[in-house]
Symmetry: C2
Subunit: 642 residues, 2 copies
């Protein structure tokens, strides 16, 4: 059978003539986006034939320029009897991995909230030792002398060595006259030596912050001596093939084999990203001495192979909220197998380590913050699940709601992640209703990401081309609005302007999905405030986190009714706060303790148990809200627009 080589991964698969490229890619473990199910209509499985011949049936769905460059649809291209080299473009998102500037998200967090030089103390350390030579009458073993030398610097305390490290000690001590570098994890008065290397290796010292999202996984490589992030890679969580949200994953995991499958899928994504980011920076994965993982409880259960079923069944009990010391070997993460994989603690069945890590990016847990004097803050993490934390230095209350993957591009016909080609901003012409679009990377549009949809819906509403229920205007004609029977759709880009050669539409069903997502978030905030006898006006600060785009226009999110109508200066956008929080824990023992203490004092509210939640939710299924009095500046803007 001919060999098919896929770039940039270099993965090779043998496939029989007649197999489609989509099937071949999947057989080799590569995931290509194919929401139309291989019908050749969505254009998302675009690939480029680098060399070799293939039988491409339906090039018509791609624009001519694209075809000229060798692009084909993988689903509509069949293998002949000859070898092929096929490039999967980065823009496809899947497995290509997407590079984001490593320090970008850190820049979103207020400087005084980040660990300072004085607070840098990574969980993992490298330490240079000059161990004395063995002497005949001393009667000390190699391990004895190493431990003595270590204790000279670090005092008493139990020192543990795994067998794999003990096996390296004798030769390491003799290679450079007793000069060795030990890697270790300090845990109170206990020191776990996780590596011993000859000579001075203190500058080869890395850690990983890992954010395991339901939809997206991000891995950040950090140079620990300077607490500096050197690179970040993110990709879809390969589990998405088994369900889009946590409930469908839990349902999928109902047999041990399927649980193991989900575990393997998440680890596959994580380890591939580790390989990419380490490879790009000349780091061997086994040089990574520590990983800090933040994920929601379902993701944490699945990646650890813990049966998630009881999370879904009353009384919704997780197997573990805080996890003990686990090694990379046990967890299956491809770094130094003896290193510690620390999981940020969960608070409730649906509020996890992504949130306890995330609030490190807020003043809620900053002992130095001015807000200590009782000012109330709200933290919202908008992902496939939406999580909310409200409180101050006296109390912290948290809850989660299911927003669905709409803001990450899921469940929307032309939705996508904020990768190259994603429409991230839209301007609707008030006169004609026609859109002007801006994409990530300024390339031809391939789809629309979360920030683009917020932008679009806000503009359509203010310009009157869509009403508060999400119905597109039918009373006056627009070249962008196509009505078919009872449903209408909005043309974002005609076929000739899109990267896929197909027109990009937002349907009223898509709009409904967005409205439901924003209603879930807003009503959860509203309800939790109500429980405290408070309103949005009582909030001194709002922190918004999430992966729905590279930036978030707070004003437009208010118009949509996703965020409350408050002065803009009360809002801070944090980006991926889960990853940033994991980074802070990785580099600072103080921040780890700060987070654990915060997790302990967080009160978890189960929205499912609150009867008012449905009332709040229903009232929010309107743009911006059924009670327009809650959104005075939106009402004013609307009046002005008329």
């Amino acid at each position: 059978m001919p060999e098919i080589r896929f770039l940039p991964s270099g993965i090779v698969v043998e496939a029989a003539a007649g197999t489609s490229l989509l099937e071949a890619a999947r057989a080799s473990g590569l995931e290509l986006d194919s929401p139309c199910g291989g019908k050749g209509t969505c254009g998302k499985c675009i690939v480029r034939i680098v060399s070799g011949d293939a039988d491409s049936e339906s090039l018509g769905t791609l624009s001519r320029t694209v075809v000229a460059e060798g692009y084909v649809l993988a689903c509509a291209t069949r293998i002949l009897g000859t070898p092929l080299v096929v490039e999967i473009p980065e823009r496809s998102g899947w497995k290509g991995g997407q590079f984001t500037d490593a320090e970008e998200d850190l820049a979103l967090v207020s400087r005084e909230l980040l660990p300072t030089r004085w607070e840098f103390e990574p969980l993992a350390m490298k330490w240079l030792l000059d161990v004395s030579e063995p002497k005949r009458d001393e009667g000390l073993s190699d391990l004895d002398r190493l431990t003595r030398s270590f204790r000279k610097d670090w005092g008493k305390g139990e020192v543990f060595y795994p067998l794999s490290v003990i096996r390296k000690v004798a030769d390491a001590l003799r290679a450079e006259a007793g000069r060795v570098t030990v890697s270790l994890i300090r845990d109170g008065d206990t020191f776990r030596i996780i590596d011993v290397e000859p000579g001075d290796r203190t500058s080869r010292h890395w850690g990983l912050a890992i954010d395991i999202g339901t939809t997206t996984i991000a891995v950040q490589l950090v140079f620990l001596p300077l607490a500096r992030p050197v690179g970040t890679r993110n990709d879809y969580n390969a589990q998405v093939s088994c369900g889009l949200d946590v409930i469908s994953r839990i349902n999928y995991a109902r047999t041990p084999a399927r649980l193991e499958e989900l575990r393997g899928l998440a680890l596959g994504t994580i380890n591939a990203l580790i390989g990419q980011v380490c490879g790009a920076h000349g780091v061997k994965p086994e040089e990574v001495a520590n990983a800090v993982v933040a994920g929601n409880p379902t993701m944490t259960h699945l990646v650890l192979g813990l049966k998630p079923e009881y999370l879904r069944l009353d009384p919704y009990t997780p197997t573990a909220s805080a996890l003990p010391y686990l090694t990379a070997r046990e967890v299956g993460i491809g770094i130094n197998p003896e290193s510690w994989v620390y999981f940020c603690p969960s608070v409730g069945s649906y509020v996890g380590g992504d949130i306890t890590a995330g609030i490190l990016c807020t003043s809620l847990v900053d002992p130095a913050a001015k807000e200590a004097e009782g000012t109330l803050s709200l933290f919202i993490d908008i992902g496939t699940n939406g999580e909310i934390v409200i409180g101050n230095h006296d109390f912290l209350m948290t809850c989660a709601c299911s927003a669905g993957p709409a803001f990450e591009g899921g469940g929307i016909d032309c939705g996508m992640r904020a990768a190259v080609g994603a429409i991230e901003r839209v301007r609707v012409d008030p006169e004609t209703g026609s859109p002007a679009v801006w994409t990530v990377g300024n390339e031809k549009p391939r789809g629309i990401c979360g920030s683009g949809m917020i932008c679009l819906l806000s503009d359509l509403y203010l310009t009157g081309w869509m009403d508060g229920q999400g119905r597109l205007a039918r009373d006056r004609p627009s070249p962008a609005i196509e009505v078919e029977g009872r449903r209408a759709r909005y043309l974002l880009a005609p076929a000739e302007e899109s990267a896929t050669g197909k027109p990009l539409y937002i349907t009223e069903t898509d709009i409904d999905n967005i409205i439901r997502a924003k209603a879930a978030i807003y009503s959860a905030c509203s309800m939790i405030l109500g429980k405290l006898g408070l309103g949005f006006g009582d909030l001194g600060h709002l922190y918004i986190a999430g992966g729905f785009g590279r930036f978030l226009d707070i004003g437009q999110a208010i118009v949509l009714g996703l965020l409350p109508d408050l002065p803009r200066d009360r809002f801070t956008y944090l980006g991926n706060s889960s990853l940033t929080g994991a980074y802070m824990v990785l580099v600072s023992r103080d921040f780890k303790e700060r987070m654990e203490e915060a997790a302990d004092r967080m009160t978890y509210i189960d929205l499912g148990a609150e009867s008012e939640y449905m009332d709040h939710y229903t009232a929010s299924l309107f743009i911006p809200h059924t009670d327009l009095g809650r959104f005075p500046t939106v009402a004013a803007a609307k009046r002005k627009a008329r």
Copy 2:
């Protein structure tokens, strides 16, 4: 190819017609004793054909009774084209495993030195918990509730769970309404939960004491709730195929692959013995929660895969003397993979955990012993290495010497372990010089074990049939003494009386080996006493340990000059004190601490560095000694015998 099934292991191997049974057995990993190298002359590879036909060439070397029962020599029997069932008799020793009464060695140890009921506190515990049901508002995970419930009984302290145990928690808690049994190891204030099972499993609780000798490995299964040994199995250490003593093993292990081979061989023997002893008592190996291992430093290095080379090179530094917490998974011992494998600590390059464990069987480390008032005691462990500890409650001094495997049957033509058929006692007729022999199991003799050789040489010397240099009498004829040129040999059993159908001889070379072995031990004792300005007369008590037989006649060992000429009531024979000491540590935390404290205060003397040692040794190469004044009762007995 026909299938050959070996009993009692049940191992099946396919072998071509014409292959010898010895080759087939070895191909299947079974070791048969074959010192003659398959020439059909030693008779040690005796096996029994249970069913099937084979071509046996040289049945002549076996007695007729044996042949009638279906016994053949494996080396001289060739496979025909048909299947065979072949039994390897237990008496062959190799792999058959030999059962010894589990409590036999314990009975040799003074009752007041064994842990009492009040001191029973195994390193591993099983604990029954009734864990509360999960409640919605409590916000406690399964692990939280389990840990709380545990702490109610055990107070604060860190509780660790390996991931493999966390995976079992959710279902275990729900199987019997929260009633679970946890297995745990307490290590100071740290608790390591190594298993969680539904319901009450506290009565399924076992530990293992393991003695890894250079020649023999012994495994004892202990029922921990009652601290009762339930069975012991021992077998040759499979490493013997790579060298008979520690130095040849160290030389063999000079490449990583060969080190790994030696590690695998020792683990193979250990795990096979575990399978046998557990199987015989209806215990699943994974129900074993703890193992305590005692072995000399070389054996410890090899079984852990630690490069032993530096033990042999000046300054003879071991990689580790005391080992940190190691799991069965890391070590490769086939019990609960999370359980602790504790290694008794070493003291010097050649004094190991077998000795630190062994001295628990003596009053040297018994805080309650009367000898505390300064009385000096000597502990001698006679094996392939001989180790000596001398001291009292104020000091402990130790050294090791290389005795060679003679007392365990190695390097002696018809030598063997104290298994069925071994001559363990001999009486020489003063008039004729002819022997009367007694064997283990009262079966026909197959060889002679350590205690038999001590008996024989002592009697030959006292009766004048052998002189002090180990020369057999040539001046008067005996039917038992055959002179050939310059060398003579002693007939222990003629062909028609031996189990192998071959005569059993002790040659003058064999006698030399025994004399060298006893000289090494005696001179080491003598020298270490000399260093202290003391003589044997200053010793209040002597403890003799070793695997050279089921019993040791102290008087005869004195005649041979192996032991000093002191009143018999000062001697105690301990049998396998290494195994008994490991048992004590397994069942009593107090005894573990007692041993560790003793190891810390032991001073190691390197005999190789002592110039007088060779003088002492040379003076001891005589029966009983060149200085007969040291052995007044032997001199008197000799005079009387004349």
